[in-house]
Amino acid sequence: MNVTRRRFLGFAAGTVAGTAAGVPASWTLSDWMAAIDPGVRPPTGPEDAVLSVCKLCPGGCGLRVRRIGGRPVKVDGNLLHPVSGGRLCPKGQAALQSLFHPDRLSSPLRRVGPVGSLDSFEPRPWEEALAEISERLRLLHQVGRPESLAILRGNQRGVADRVARRFLDAFGSPTDVVVDRGEQAATLALYLTQGVRAAPAYDVRSTDYVLSFGSSLLEAWSSPVHMMRAYGEFRQGRPGRRGKLVQIEPRLSVTGSSADEWIDVRPGSEGILALGIANVLVSEGLYDRDFVSERCVGFLEPLAGSGGRLSLAELLSRRYGLEEVADRTGVSNNVILRIAREFATARSRLAVGPRKGPLLPGSLFDHLAVQTLNALAGNPDRPGGVLVPEEAPLAGWPELPSDESAAAGRARPRLDSAEGGFELGLSDPERLAELVLRGGFYPIEVAFVMGADPVLTSMTPERFAQAIEKIPLVVSFATVPTDTALYGDWILPETHFLERWDLETGPPGVPFPLVSLSQPVWGKASPGTRSAPDVLIELAAEVGGSVASAFPWPDVPSMIRAEVAGLFAARRGALMGSEFDEAWVRMMEGAGWWAPGYRTAEELWSGMRESGGWWDPFYDHGDWRRVLLTDSGRFEFRTDLLQQLGDDRRPPYALAAAGSEGEPLGARPLLALVLFEPLPVAGGVGAELPFLQELLEPGLEESWSTWVEIHPETAARIGIRDHDRVRLTSDQGSIEAKARVTARIVEGAVAVPVGLGRKGGGRWASGCGANPLRLLVAARETVSGLPAPEATRVRVAVVGRDGHGEGRA
């Protein structure tokens, strides 16, 4: 008994001891498992909202930023804003990720090592940065070479742009380079046919049939949310009336996937098809006779004074007959006829030009062809047609102080448009880079880069990098280092757009004038950052003299107040408001009244803070004196240009025709390069945000890398399998990417997304994917001088097998 009791006690003691040892051990273990509770506990607090404007693309969406305890936690569309209408695209939704990006800069960085790497930069105090830069500027100003200053900027139409422009004017430089070609081709086409300097606004909302010639209508459009809202209404917003979208393009895009029909054409032949359809309209008498006879010239006789020898009717019938167009585009006769008749007989129809994204504006030829088609359909300035936007009446800036040296500098030709080009003053960043490298009329000694990343987004990325390196002092503003910044000398940490005041005019593609107010949504702006306009004003003060006095305001908010006062003085429009308000204002203005809902500039200001801004929703259709500003006062069919451009065109569709023209497709054929911009990374912005990287291509479920789409037949010929790693080589360079074999791209071509392959951009963008712009040969379209990416051809070779398996990094 004793023995057994002892044993029992022994066991009991053992258990207790085991437990005693086990419990602390388990705590240690659970600690070691590393904080199971993530330990993140967002604090709560009172909720409110602040209105601002998104600047992740030029779309200009009004934002409503929800805050809890003063911290922004969610970004949504501002319900009253006429562009976003309470909605937002994925980029806008991800705005907070860019605000709270872990790689935001917090101190000026000076390059001390070789270009191209963030490791070559050292943090320096703001004072040192400003001292060095202002010293250089003063010197330039003193020696009378103010034109040696250049500013490369994005196109956000906000304070930063106006201050930059003003700074250049006051300083005396003409070289204000907007690194945004998005609307250039469409603007040029509108200018050449209607004489108006604006990007056309397509009224998709009110039409029934949209023929989209390779446009990214439902992706990275000029103002994506505005267009997508219109598209929703076009499709299902009008009882009994459902719009049809036909997408014509060599690669089935996301827009194409939403379309009712995809018509696959050979790369670069969209414009030819547009003219082919125009020819059907003319030959079958389906065009708008009234509009053509009353408002157009050049239809039956050559346009006077243009040097064109053919009338439009002649040009179409001679050059764009059914058979020939079918042959050149790869679209069958039947389809061309059917589409043309559908288009012509729709109650309201619209052709949209091939603007593929902020970096890929399309060619002038294609846009002219589409403009021509639209005119034959009687679309200019008609509801459901092509509208002409109006500038916002923003004013309030005093006259520039007089300064002879500055005036002389301003009078010099812009470096980027010094050779040819139209008088529209369209920027040409690639030419700027070329002239910097070759040595133009005058050297560029100081360049500011703000809101733009040309080393990533220009059509000649490598030349641009060299040019940036060559300019003695390049100052970049950036929240997260851009590629361009890495080739410059100073990187100045910029405040995020959600952290600053701004007043911006309406985005392209929106027909009515509007002015949106951005307010800082975040009490504690990131430490060490300053906004670009603030820095420019500060530098102006340092330079002194007339440059300093060009900026009479103490800070940006008071500048904005002055501009709003100017807006008040325009005596038109209204505060942004509900749909009911909108209808009211329309009705009143249509009747010739002004019913703004504010009586003083002060009321306008506080109203704008609460509603998001000012706009004028009234659009007077058929105001021909405003929208037809050509010499003839009519819509001009530019057969001269169509003919010349058509003749000069050497697009690769000939090669794509499966060996029928050009060299036969061998085992390593030359393939057409089709570039596209996925909305999440369009314009070179977005790859720095992980949420957007996830979304690159939902159809193929591609994310976080660059891929190459290739047709199964073409792939089989070369021996490429799905998910292989391939190398694309052009005359200019080569990149590596993952091959995706899909019938979404036509034969004889490869499609590659633009927007990845960055050196900068922080942890998520840097080194992710490849930049296909590096493949582009330096070809340009004649007449327009626009870069012609479609002239590039590539060869594809497998460099690694099985993206799923061993080859996976």
């Binding site: 008994m1 023995v3 057994t4 009791r5 044993r7 029992f8 066991f11 009991a12 053992g14 258990t15 085991g18 086990g22 419990v23 051990a25 388990s26 705590w27 273990l29 659970s30 600690d31 498992m33 904080a35 199971i36 509770d37 506990r41 709560t44 607090g45 009172p46």
Partner: protein, 200 residues
């Protein structure tokens, strides 16, 4: 872990019952149980680290407050209502802890001669924010709205914060709320007890 120890009991009992009383002592089956239990436990521990029961020990450390606030003095003697300092209790999900401005409303200058008040006045004059230590800790995955309980259900503050108004100094320990604290009341009060009513 009773279920583990439970396993070997049955055979022991069965055989024991059928056994002559001259058999070994009653200690042995217990020993078997214990050894089996320990064996099982040790096994599980080694195999899976199952002993990592419960998430985190977070032994409640004493909470330090910037000022030893006297609730009784303010509520009973001065006659303040709870929501005069916890101003969001009726309208927001959180009740809100008084900010420096709230205190400064009365205590810009000392009202009495308590050393704690002196501390407060010093803090206020220094322009520092008051950073109160949290005493009630609601798990992060729980949605709880003071407004709902105070304004709609009409509960008294004492229902959950019992005795706080009568205390002369803040409790020193964090009170961790468990799901039972909520469910008991919800069932009594016939309130919703759908998971998604509170879990978020």
């Amino acid at each position: 872990m009773p279920r583990c120890a439970g396993a070997p009991i049955m055979p022991d009992e069965r055989i024991e019952k059928g056994q002559a009383p001259t058999g070994p002592s009653t200690g042995e089956p217990a020993g078997v149980v214990a050894s089996a239990a320990i064996g099982f436990l040790v096994f599980l521990l080694l195999t899976t680290g199952l002993l990592t029961v419960g998430s985190g020990g977070s032994s409640s450390r004493p909470v330090d407050q910037p000022v030893e606030f006297n609730h009784r003095l303010h509520v009973e003697d001065v006659g303040l209502e709870c929501n005069e300092c916890h101003e969001f209790a009726e309208s927001e999900s959180f009740s809100g802890l008084p900010t420096a401005e709230t205190c400064a409303f009365c205590h810009e200058e000392a009202q009495g001669n308590s050393p704690e008040e002196a501390k407060l006045v010093a803090l206020l004059s220094g322009g520092q924010p008051l950073e109160w230590g949290r005493l009630y800790r609601q798990p992060a995955h729980v949605y709880y709205a003071h407004s709902q309980h105070v304004s709609v259900a009409g509960l008294e503050c004492e229902r959950c914060h019992a005795g706080l108004a009568a205390s002369s100094r803040p409790p020193r320990r964090v009170r961790k709320l468990t799901m039972d604290d909520c469910i008991d009341c919800h069932e009594d009060g016939d309130a919703e007890s759908d998971c998604t009513t509170c879990h978020r």
